[in-house]
């Protein structure tokens, strides 16, 4: 397999990484909002969040992507492929991340919160200084996991017309008849990307407050 082919795979993996990173970040922002709604104890906030989460966790990502790409134009919103891909991945990962965050916040020991109240910290101080650092610390490994899952799931966005790493490998295999070499290379590129994500995740995790050394 020529270097030219490997170079094309690397170029396509830029789409894989960009779409995944943007989706993880947007998904995280939505997840914060959703987990806030879930923890609010108010049914008019909890219900929409629950419906959102059960839909995006319950429907396969492939179906979600096809729905966003083909159904949104029916209601008058015609988005380009790249936007449809990012919307699909973001909403899907938001549902999972929201559940992770909710679990993180729910696991903050009540004793700690009560002690903070005793020494006179305000609710917003307790939220910023106690709850967020502990919840973030507890959910960080799950967040890294989710990033890796989304990187791999991004191979599905080819159904809305994005030529990312997997699709490029398929296209090149179709015209060069070197499926073995191409798919092995694509696998290697995914492995390296996810290894970097895991490594970076480990480095950040060690610098988070409250980690036993």
């Amino acid at each position: 397999m020529s270097f030219k082919l490997f170079e094309l795979l690397l170029q396509a993996s830029i789409y894989t990484v960009t779409i995944s990173v943007v989706s993880i970040l947007i998904g995280f922002a939505i997840a914060i909002l959703l987990s806030g709604m879930l923890l609010s104890q108010r049914s008019h906030l909890m219900l929409p969040a629950r419906i959102f989460i059960s839909f995006f966790r319950g429907v396969p990502l492939l179906v979600q992507l096809l729905l966003i790409y083909n159904l949104l134009p029916v209601i008058g919103i015609n988005v380009p492929s790249i936007v449809a891909a990012i919307i699909g991945l973001s909403l899907c990962t938001a549902a999972y991340q929201a559940e992770n965050l909710r679990g993180g916040f729910a696991s903050v020991p009540t004793g700690l919160v009560e002690s903070a109240e005793m020494v006179g910290l305000s609710p917003s101080q307790i939220f910023r200084r106690i709850k967020v650092p502990i919840a973030l610390r507890l959910t960080f490994p799950a967040l890294v996991n989710e990033a890796i899952l989304i990187l791999k799931a991004s191979s599905l966005v080819s159904v809305v017309g994005i030529v990312e790493l997997t699709r490029m490998a398929q296209d090149l295999a179709g015209s060069t008849f070197l499926p073995l070499q191409l798919f092995a290379s694509a696998g290697l590129i995914y492995l390296v990307i996810n290894w970097i994500v895991a490594l970076a995740g480990g480095l950040i995790e060690r610098r988070l407050p409250g980690v036993p050394r």
């Binding site: 030219k4 170029q11 059960s54 790409y69 134009p73 029916v74 209601i75 179709g174 060069t176 008849f177």
Partner: protein
């Protein structure tokens, strides 16, 4: 239960809203000219019409649409999807026309509008080079034969297979390129596709693949596809006129020669397809 009915309500509302919106859509040709871009949907796994040649989108469609773009005075923007996603996306308005191309069939003509034919689509078998067990189309009886999912070639193959003493074992693939890969790997005995396609594949991979002649079944043709509604009529009329002009001045024959090694005699329009 409550969630379910709410979801159903939402989806229903979305459809109703969409139906009213599309009723007010404008003349597509005017929109295309105003934007200066014709959006063309296709699948990049259908050599030599559409494929990725060392990373570049190439093929007869790309060249033909470049000429159509010149005639209409617009740029061409490509959207590449898996084949079974192309028609839903056309109906959702993701692009203005499909460069597929697709075999002109009765069933498709009920729902879509075809351009004049751009090539012959009669089906034939591709086998592994040197496979002595298949020397004529009838030899595929009882063998594993690959074909594209949701293609007219699948229908043509089924119809032919039903006439054999033992039916062929038909394997459907998301794209033809995957079936060629399986043929090369020996997982299937042959691939049924239109003659221009398999002739190109056999030429590209001499020594790996061979074409089983003659083509079988009824004569059919490839055309590009658009929507049938009034909004798309002016655009489709304009593309038809451009294609007929490209055919009349010999550009079409030259492109067919470039991509198939031979040019085809095609009718100017198909009223009553064989399938």
């Amino acid at each position: 239960m409550k969630k379910n009915s709410l979801l159903k309500g939402l989806v229903g509302a979305a459809f109703l809203f969409g139906a009213t919106l599309s009723a007010h859509a404008a003349d597509t040709l005017a929109a295309v000219k105003a934007a200066g871009t014709l959006k063309v949907g296709t699948e990049t796994a259908f050599a030599p019409f559409d494929f990725i040649d060392a990373g570049e989108h190439a093929g007869l469609n790309v060249d033909l649409f470049a000429e159509i773009g010149k005639e209409l005075g617009v740029k061409i923007e490509w959207v590449a999807l898996p084949w079974d996603g192309v028609f839903p996306a056309l109906e959702a308005g993701k692009f203005d026309i499909v460069a597929g191309p697709a075999t002109i069939t009765k069933k498709r003509m009920e729902r879509y509008r075809f351009t004049p034919p751009i090539a012959e689509a009669t089906i034939a078998i591709l086998k592994k080079a040197g496979d002595k067990t298949i020397t004529k189309p009838e030899d595929i009886a009882g063998k594993k034969i690959g074909v594209g999912k949701a293609t007219s070639q699948l229908d043509q193959l089924k119809e032919f297979s039903d006439t054999l003493p033992t039916k062929a074992e038909i394997r459907e693939y998301p794209a033809f390129t995957e079936s060629y890969a399986d043929l090369a790997a020996g997982r299937i005995a042959g691939v049924a596709n239109s003659l221009p396609n398999i002739a190109f594949v056999a030429k590209q991979r001499e020594g790996t693949f061979e074409v089983v002649l003659p083509p079988f079944g009824k004569k059919s043709y490839f055309g590009f596809i658009g929507l049938k509604d009034a909004d798309h009529a002016p655009l489709m009329d304009a593309v038809d006129a451009a294609l007929l002009k490209i055919k009349a001045d010999g550009r079409m024959a030259a492109l067919q020669k470039k991509w198939f090694g031979a040019s085809f005699d095609t009718p100017d329009s198909i009223k009553d397809p064989a399938f």
